[in-house]
């Protein structure tokens, strides 16, 4: 009786340790999937090239959601792109993180009263870090990435877990805004 409880706790401890080691690797090798929906995307080239050189933080661009760790939502999201964004987010392999760029993802920005653009991204998918500004300058973008790494270190970047636990809530919001996430369109049938 006693021994089983001991091993159980031990196992948890081991899992936690492994997770911490894994966290070290994960935060030092963030592969981005750039969902370039808006103008904030223009801040990424200077962040990647020789002026700010994102690669020294271990970050790099990736081609598909399966390979990527962090989803960059750069700018406003119309209903049409939000559907694709949710689909893409669900295809990413866990653990996964989301960074929202610019005021559009925070409160809709200059599109706050449009019929086609959503206001708060965190109602539909969990966002770990917001980078404010319209557009944010490149220092803030880099700072956002470093903040994300800090959050990962202190285990606060748990958006993907929240998505699992609050899935019903997210789902409700998605349905309320979009009607239906996956739609049929004639061009892909």
């Amino acid at each position: 009786m006693n021994s089983t409880r001991f091993t159980e706790r031990n196992k948890e401890e081991i899992d936690r340790k492994w997770w911490e080691i894994g966290d070290y690797f994960r935060r030092n090798s963030l592969w981005m999937l750039m969902y370039c929906t808006g103008c904030c995307a223009i801040e990424l080239p200077p962040a990647m090239t020789s002026v700010y050189d994102m690669e020294r933080l271990g970050m790099g661009p990736m081609a598909t959601p399966r390979q990527a760790d962090v989803l960059l939502v750069t700018g406003y999201l119309s209903l049409k792109t939000l559907r694709r964004l949710i689909y893409t987010y669900e295809q990413m392999s866990e653990p996964k993180y989301v960074v929202g760029f610019g005021s559009c993802t925070i409160n809709g920005g200059i599109y706050h009263d449009s019929h086609a653009v959503i206001n708060r991204l965190d109602q539909y998918i969990p966002v770990d870090v917001y980078v404010a500004g319209c557009m944010p300058n490149t220092e803030s973008v880099m700072n956002g990435f470093v903040d994300l790494m800090d959050l990962m270190k202190s285990k606060k970047a748990d958006g993907w877990k929240r998505y699992h636990t609050n899935y019903e809530w997210y789902r409700e919001n998605q349905i309320a805004a979009l009607g239906e996430v996956k739609v049929h369109d004639e061009f892909h049938e």
Binding site: R56, P61, A63, R66, Q67, D69, S93
Partner: protein
């Protein structure tokens, strides 16, 4: 036998470690070339271990089986690889054709797994990889035919020893045309810039790797590093006279790999049919001319 197998596994592991570290160093070199700071030299290790720690998706048993077959085939190939004339798991069985064809098992596994994912981009990537292969392999094989004919052995360490015995008369100097062909072919094998059509992240979303994430992608990264190790070491043994000790091997290996990286970073990308036409034009002609000169006429320096 067990000891030989362990040595072989040691070579594979060592090759993986060495090549992965060198890959990081080369990323640093390239970054310096572009006036950047560049990643840490152990960045590639971090990448691979991160991938192994993630939770991936699987598209059915063939998707996983192909990855295992790919990594297994490549580890098996690496186990035959001589590092120096002494560090060699299976003396006199390190036949050149084993490397070429056992490597193909790994490639086949990967191709199978990629097609098994059901993504058309993966199949297109595999198609391009195979087409590139049919382009670069023939000139390379003709050059190697010349080398085997001259050295009288198809054992890779035997070829290296032949060059050392002939007063360090490396085939790089003895067969200058063939050397140029082999460099071009090696760039094709490694998928370096002008010939990286089958990865093409912007066109076909990294081709065969499109559906991989997490541990499968991590294993394919390991596989890729070992493949690079095998191909560059083959080149070192065939053209640069092999190595007497492990330091010489490391230096030669580093020079070849870094040189190729520098060349590839100033190039654009070919279209897939341009790759085929390119290899069947000058490299093939040069390889055949080199073979005729060396075998029929006997003009070897």
């Amino acid at each position: 036998m067990i000891i030989s197998l362990l040595i072989g596994l040691g070579v594979a592991l060592g090759g993986f470690t060495f090549q992965t570290a060198l890959g990081g160093v080369n990323r640093k070199i390239v970054a310096r070339l572009q006036k950047r700071v560049g990643p840490r030299w152990y960045q590639e290790f971090i990448d691979i271990f991160k991938l192994l720690s993630k939770r991936s998706v699987s598209h059915g048993w063939i998707f996983d089986f192909g990855v295992i077959m790919a990594l297994g085939g490549i580890i098996g190939t690496a186990m035959f690889m001589p590092v120096t004339s002494n560090i060699l798991a299976f003396p006199s069985f390190d036949n050149f054709f084993i490397f070429v064809y056992l490597l193909a098992v790994g490639m086949l596994g990967m191709a199978m797994s990629a097609s098994g994912s059901g993504n058309p981009l993966a199949s297109i990537g595999v198609m391009r990889a195979l087409t590139t292969m049919v382009a670069y392999e023939i000139p390379f094989m003709i050059v190697v035919l010349t080398i085997i004919k001259l050295a009288g052995t198809s054992s890779v360490s035997g070829i290296a020893e032949f060059q050392q015995m002939a007063g360090n008369n490396w085939f790089m100097i003895a067969l200058p045309l063939g050397f140029v062909v082999a460099v071009l072919s090696l760039m094709g094998m490694l998928g370096k810039k002008p010939f990286e059509t089958y990865i093409a992240p912007a066109e076909i979303a990294s081709g065969p790797m499109v559906e991989y994430g997490g541990k499968q992608l991590g294993m394919l990264f390991i596989m890729h590093e070992i493949t690079v190790f095998i191909e560059v070491s083959l080149f070192v043994h065939l053209f640069l006279g092999g190595a007497e000790n492990i330091w010489m091997f490391a230096i030669k290996y580093f020079l070849v790999y870094a040189g190729l990286n520098l060349v590839s970073n100033v190039n654009g990308r070919f279209k897939i049919d341009q790759v085929v036409v390119f290899f069947y034009k000058w490299p093939l002609a040069m390889a055949v001319v080199q073979a005729i000169i060396a075998i029929y006429l006997g003009w070897v320096i």
